[in-house]
Structures are given as structure tokens and as C-alpha cells.
Amino acid sequence: MTRPGLDTLGRRVAEKRDAALARPAHDERTAALLGLALGVTFTVCFVTGLYSHLLQQPPTWIAVPPSPAGLYRVTQGLHVATGIASIPLLLAKLWSVYPRLFSWPPFRDLGQLVERLALVVLVAGSLFMLFSGLANVERWYPWRFFFPAGHYWAAWITIGALVVHIGAKLPVVRRVLTRGAPETGAAAEPGTLTRRGFLGATATATGLLTLFTVGQTVSPLRRFVLFAPRRPDIGPQGLPVNATAGEAGVLDAATSEEYRLRITGVVDDLVLTRADLEAMDRTEAVLPIACVEGWSASARWGGVPVGSLLVAAGVERGSAVTVDVRSLERNGLYGQSVLAGDQVWADDTLLALTLDGEELHVDHGYPCRLIAGNRPGVLQTKWVGELAVR
């Protein structure tokens, strides 16, 4: 192709672009409003995600308190809900701004180069975060990396690019959203969307998607759950399970006469049967199972406080110990969890034997499982075989 041909093409693209940008659905005001909405959902999603990461990979200098017991249920419910709501918002935002991709020359100065490169990272990162998060909720893993690590590090990269983007666009947002700012774009042409129509459609899609999924956390909305992989009232004893005893390969060990709970470490080892646990003083606690995938459900658990077992083994009540809670499940990533600080001695940190007054179902962790407040479901270790005190 000859040089004049390229120029003609460039001119025609520029005309198309400018015509599109003049429409209300593509103008700066629409983009700014969608950007604000995404700024809110991304921020909530990032903060709640960090909290979840903190609980699962606690640094040594911090022990997350076991109360309020339902806090993780709220934060993780918010994490998944804002993530899902971001999907229609992001698609609308990308559609609203895509004509701007065709600007020529691609950058005028170094600042703009940095801003546009950050945009590549932001768009790619956002798509990755929402896709990988959604796939994890659906328990679909079409990749080879370890989801929590990939999702976590990509979150930092994405949020960094978002900060750059907000910094670059803040003047535009201020200009177009200031009260009484002049209308920039033209009125909608016949047959095209008005700004109100476009934003209304986006808001409706976001609202309906939220309504059809958030019931996995908010029980009054349970009957509207359409897209979530789990209804939190379906499963043995009215509570869902992620991994059954069969899937975890512990069915035989968990139901064996030979089952023993061992309390080991800096104590006189205890070796107890389920019958021994049943004979001990038991308490009840109403605590949620709150899965990282967003579903949660509350239940009444009965069992022996972990603190009582430690005292029985000779640990002074309230002393600074850490407990590795080990499952009979040997191969899983979540075959072990850690209790530290106040989590160890909280009255409602239990080795649960019953669920809503019935003997615990083997898929829920029979002979006994850990249940404690403000804790991701994957850390509520099932089929506990050992408490190692250190």
C-alpha cells in the first residue's frame, strides 16, 4: 500500500472515531461515570480480597481476632458480589471508551506513553482478575498456575495500574462531572442510545446479576439464586460441601474404629476417641461457614472447645501457643490450618461433633472438624486427626 493510501485510511478512521466519541454512550461523561462505579467496586473488591489473603496467609506479626465471628462472611460476600458486579460495568466501560484506542499518533509525550501502557496493564489485569475469580467461583480451572497466588499478585499489578489511570484521568473526571459542566457530546441520534439509556441498561444488568447471585450469601435472597454454583441450603444436613469425604480420600479413615484424635507437641500427648470427645464438656456456637467462593451459611455447631483440649493436655489457659490443626486428609492443599493468638482460646473455637443437633455428617468432617469465628471455610479444617501445639 502506498503512503497516500495509508493517510486516507488514517483520516477515515479518525472521522469514524470522532463521530463515535461524539455520541453520548462514548463521551467522557459516560466514561467518567462508569469509571467512578468501577473505582468503587474495584476498591471494595481489592480491600476485601486483601483481608481474605491476610486470613489465609497470616504474617507472623499479626493474629486475626476470632470476632466478630461473621466478619469474614460479610467481607468475602462483598468480595464476590463486587467482583461479579464489575463484569457488566467493565464491559460497558470498555465499549464506551474503545473508540479512543484509535487515536493517532498513539502518544504525544512520555507522560501519555506511560499512561497508555498502564492502560494495557489495567485492561488485561482487570479481565484476568474478573475471569479468574469467576472461574474459581465456578470451580473451573482452565490454567496451570495456583489460583490464590495468581489472583493475589495480579491484583497488586491491576490496582497499581488503576492508581496510575485514576491519576491521569482525575482532571477529566472533575471537568465533566462538576455540577453545571457544559454538555460536551451531541444529543443522541435517532436509533442510538442516549446516555441515560446506556447507563440505565448497564445498571439494570448489574443489579439483576447481583440479585441472581448474592443469595448465596444473603439468605433472604436465596430463592433468587440463578447463576451461583451453590445454594447455601443444599447439601448434607442443609449445608453445602466443597469436598466430600470420598473426594478427599478420607472416608475409611474417618469412619474407622481406629480413629484417634491426637494432641501433640509441647504437651503430654492425648490420644482420644470420638466417644472420649463426646464425654467431655461440650458447648454450642452459631457460626457461619463462609467459603472464599462467596457462599456462606450459618449453622449451630456443638463440640469441645479447642482451649479445653489444650488445658486437658497440660497447656496453661491463655498462654501464647500456636496450634496446627491437621486433617486426616493428607494430600489436599487445605489439609492443615493454623490457630494463633486469641483464636486458640476463644470460647467458640470448637472441635465440632454435631451440626444443628445431629451427629456431624462425614462430608462435613466427622468425627470432628474445626469451626471458629471470622475464618475462611477452607481453614475450617475437616476430619481433624491431630492438634499439634507449638
Binding site: 503430654d268 482420644l272 467431655m280
Partner: protein, 222 residues
């Protein structure tokens, strides 16, 4: 063939000030010793009536006329109670059930059930006490080391003892739970279970004296 069984009793000679001191107050040391003597006599009567081939009294103190015939007496040895238990068990071979002197409400049938448990059904037996301790322990093949490191008289003693048995490869059969006499209220409760025993009679004398004490206390004592 059923192996030869042994019933072992751990006891203290009922000397005032050395036994049942947790009954004082309200008891005087003499009252506590008299009640201990009654409980020991009731216990030894029941042991006499059970089916064990061999009866051993591991005694802390000197035997008195309260000792019935048919008992081998060995002196307790060791400083801590776990050491004394280990020493007493080291003279035993074959299936053995061991009790103390704080549960006079036992019956020959209860002891025979425990002896059968270790002779026929299980490698060990443990009778839990209501306070978290235990009133009886049995082993088919005695392992004196199972008592090492188990703290006595705590609410977790039973759990710790069961764990210690398991760590030595023994799996205890759990026997009936009994209340053992530790406090004065325990004594009243146990005596009510065995109203025609020496324990109940002795407790009645003590209660009678305690009830009369307000009037006698008006007498000036120089």
C-alpha cells in the same frame, strides 16, 4: 482358660490428719479418719466378695484389726502418687483391676465386670469418676509405666490416663462412672446410695454431732 485375676486396692491407713483431709472442715480430723476407716472396711468387704483369685492391699501406713483375712499386704513405695501406683502394679502379673478406698458404693458385680473386661474383652479398663478422675483402672498385662506423668486429682486425670494407656498400646474398655468421696457433700451423696453400710452409719454419727455443735459451742472453753 481364664488367667488368674488380681484385685488391687490402694489405701491409706485411717490415721487422723493423714486421710480425707478435704472433709475438714466441717469434719474434725478424727471424724474424717473414722469415715475413711468405714469406707475402707466397706470396700474391703466388697473386694472379699468379688471373684478375683488374688487380693492385694497396697497400704500407706500400718495394717490394723480392720484388715480382713485373705489379703496380701504390700507397703506403698515412692514419693508421688503416680510412683506409688507404679510400684504397687509392679508386684502384679496377669489381669488386674485396681481401685481405691473412696468408692465404698462398689459392688462385687461391678468389680467382676471390670475383672472380666481385662481378663476376657480388652487390654485395659478404666472406670471414670464424676470429677474427671478415675475410680478403677485395669490392665491385662500390667505396664507400671502408664502412670508416669499423669497428674492426679484434676478434672482431666481420666482423659490423661486413657491417653497414657493408649500410648502404651492398650485400649481401655470404659467402665461405669462413679462418684468418689472427696468432699463432705460427696460423702453424703455416696452414703445415700449405701444406707446400710458402715460409711453411712459413720456419716450419720458425724452429722449428728455437727447438728448439736451450736449448743455445745456455748460452753466456755478455757
Amino acid at each position: 482358660m481364664t488367667p488368674r485375676t488380681t484385685l488391687l486396692v490402694m489405701a491409706k491407713a485411717p490415721v487422723p490428719g493423714r486421710v480425707k483431709t478435704r472433709l475438714c472442715p466441717p469434719c474434725r480430723p478424727e471424724d474424717a479418719a473414722a469415715l475413711a476407716a468405714a469406707a475402707l472396711a466397706d470396700t474391703l468387704d466388697v473386694v472379699d466378695a468379688c471373684g478375683a483369685e488374688r487380693r492385694i492391699l497396697a497400704l500407706d501406713g500400718e495394717p490394723g484389726e480392720w484388715l480382713p483375712a485373705g489379703f496380701e499386704v504390700v507397703a506403698q513405695a515412692g514419693d508421688s502418687f503416680p510412683d506409688r501406683l507404679a510400684a504397687a502394679w509392679s508386684v502384679v502379673d496377669g489381669p488386674c483391676l485396681q481401685i481405691g478406698m473412696d468408692t465404698p458404693q462398689i459392688t462385687p458385680a461391678l468389680l467382676d465386670h471390670g475383672l472380666d473386661a481385662v481378663a476376657l474383652r480388652a487390654t485395659a479398663a478404666l472406670g471414670p469418676a464424676s470429677d474427671g478422675g478415675w475410680w478403677s483402672i485395669g490392665m491385662r498385662h500390667p505396664v507400671p509405666a502408664v502412670f508416669a506423668g499423669v497428674p492426679m486429682s484434676t478434672e482431666w486425670t481420666g482423659v490423661r490416663q486413657v491417653s497414657a494407656l493408649r500410648r502404651h498400646g492398650l485400649e481401655p474398655e470404659v467402665l461405669s462412672e462413679l462418684l468418689d468421696i472427696d468432699t463432705f457433700d460427696d460423702a453424703r451423696e455416696v452414703a445415700a446410695l449405701i444406707p446400710r453400710s458402715r460409711t453411712a452409719a459413720q456419716l450419720a454419727l458425724i452429722v449428728d454431732r455437727l447438728d448439736r455443735r451450736p449448743s455445745s459451742s456455748r460452753v466456755a472453753v478455757p
